[in-house]
Amino acid sequence: MSSIPRFWRNMKSRYNLIGKRCTRCGEIYFPPRNFCSNCRRRGELEEVQHSGKGEVVSYTVIRTPPEGFERQAPYVMALVKLDEGVMVTTQIVDVSPEEVEIGMRVESVFRKIQEDGEAGLIYYGFKFRPAKEE
């Protein structure tokens, strides 16, 4: 059985893209941290909500999946740069691999990330899909 507290602790960030911003230097951390790498002890961190909009910086198609992702393969994984500045590792959904491009605008959706087998917990969180034209 996979760890329960470890993934419960991250829910806020996984469900709602909530990170932290250092009020002293402005650096944003997502996932959130308790310690600003720039200001260290002098840093002050407050919660910050991301809009869920961003663009694809790079992407790949995973064809040899890790345990738990076999049914989904092949699937698109990408580095998405959120509009607020940080980058996340995430799956791109609702699109075929050929349609993904560097620079593509994307928006966050709420999906199942993985589950701890048939009897274990289901872990939900963010993924991204192509954004509708604005």
Binding site: T60, V61, I62
Partner: protein, 384 residues
């Protein structure tokens, strides 16, 4: 910095070694190194072992104790060093530092990994622990996936081509033909690479280093003590190590391994050397793109020009700067914890003139070992 001598080297064959256990691997490599050094067990002051995950591969932690015990070296101090795929390189640096500090005169530094005792899925899961467990691996990312992201971006930013990546693999397989310890002795072509199954687009099977069992070992000694044992030691004249973000998504620029750049900077400074002084190098080609990143980050070629340099044969045996004469991680094999030490073994053999058919003419060599997608890098410079 003051020089540290390498007075003995040893390694096992790299491959799927079904008959050999974890501890047997190290003992075999260690015995060979001690023999090569012409020392006695009682001459050894300390032991450093690089190993990524004895715990997940063979359910064994407390590796340092296990190795010291099975090598018959107790009660000397034994220390296990871990930084994913850079474990071996870090162990070398720890050994170097222990001698330069004056704590020890003769130390054995080895690296070992036994990866085939578990099924492939478990192996890939374990390798993923080198990435960010909760925010990369958890999301469905794999190790090849991370390097694939870098490869695609590198192709986008610098025009590196699929064929150029393939040429890294072709070259390294060619080199390994002359390395009796290598896992693969098979020549391949660019077409072979491009036809091999996709693992994580654009990387294919033949872009990726294999799963390997193996161990490598060196005996280090202070310059003064070395003279008691050998006439012409090879010296470690520079050492650099740097850390960076664990997750690729937190790197400032994913196409430049800043840990490599920083580690190299320190190594060159300590050795009072520049990139153009290096005449042979063993770099971290866990994936073909890794070698491109390495030769750029180490300063052998301009950033972005790594693909072209490979295509033009600059890194082949006979080229301007031969890279991975051993066959690299791709063709020699990549027993994770052992790799960093095996790289030192190769450069020592090259500088001694004992590299057989893959020999190049070199007085100054370099080893480059990376952990994860670039969270750790360690560089050593060696000279005759």
């Amino acid at each position: 910095m003051k020089r540290v001598a390498v007075i003995g080297v040893g390694l096992t064959k790299f491959g799927e070694l079904w008959e050999t256990s974890f501890s047997q691997l190290f003992v075999e490599a260690g015995a060979m190194a001690i023999n090569d050094a012409g020392i006695d067990g009682s001459d050894i002051d300390a032991l450093y072992v690089g190993n990524m995950s004895g715990g997940r591969f063979v359910d064994q932690e407390h590796i340092s104790c296990l190795i010291a015990d099975h090598a018959g070296l107790t009660p000397i101090p034994a220390t296990r060093v871990e930084a994913a795929c850079a474990s071996g390189g870090l162990a070398i640096r720890q050994g170097v530092m222990s001698i330069l500090s004056g704590f020890h005169d003769v130390v054995v530094v080895g690296g070992v990994e036994k990866m085939t005792d578990v099924v492939t899925e478990k192996t890939t899961q374990t390798l993923a622990t080198a990435s960010d467990s909760e925010w990369e691996a958890f999301m469905g990312m794999t190790f090849p996936g991370l390097y694939a992201l870098i490869a695609r971006r590198h192709m986008h930013e610098y025009g590196t081509t699929r064929e150029q990546l393939a040429m890294v693999s072709v070259k390294n397989h060619e080199n390994a033909m002359h390395n009796p310890y290598a896992q693969f002795h098979s020549k391949i072509t660019v077409e072979d690479v491009l036809r091999s199954p996709l693992v994580a687009d654009p990387l294919r099977l033949l872009d990726c280093s294999p799963i390997t069992d193996g161990a490598a070992c060196v005996v280090l000694a202070s310059e003064e003590k070395a003279r008691e044992f050998v006439d012409n030691p090879v010296y470690i004249t520079g050492s650099g190590q740097a850390s960076s973000t664990i997750a690729l998504h937190d790197r400032k620029k994913i196409t430049v391994t800043d840990a490599t750049v920083n580690a190299a900077k320190e190594a060159y400074a300590r050795a009072k050397r520049e990139p153009r002084d290096i005449q042979v190098a063993e770099v971290h080609d866990a994936f073909t793109i890794g070698e491109i990143l390495a030769i750029e980050g180490l300063g052998f070629v301009e950033i972005g020009k790594g693909g072209k340099a490979t295509e033009e044969g600059e890194t082949a045996i006979g080229g301007r700067i031969p890279v991975n004469t051993s066959g690299g991680l791709k063709a020699k094999g990549h027993p994770v914890g052992a790799t960093g030490v095996a790289q030192v073994v190769e450069i020592v053999l090259q500088l001694r003139g004992e590299a057989g058919k893959r020999q190049v003419d070199a007085d100054v060599g370099l080893t480059h070992n990376v952990g994860g997608s670039g969270g750790t890098a360690v560089v050593h410079i060696l000279e005759k």
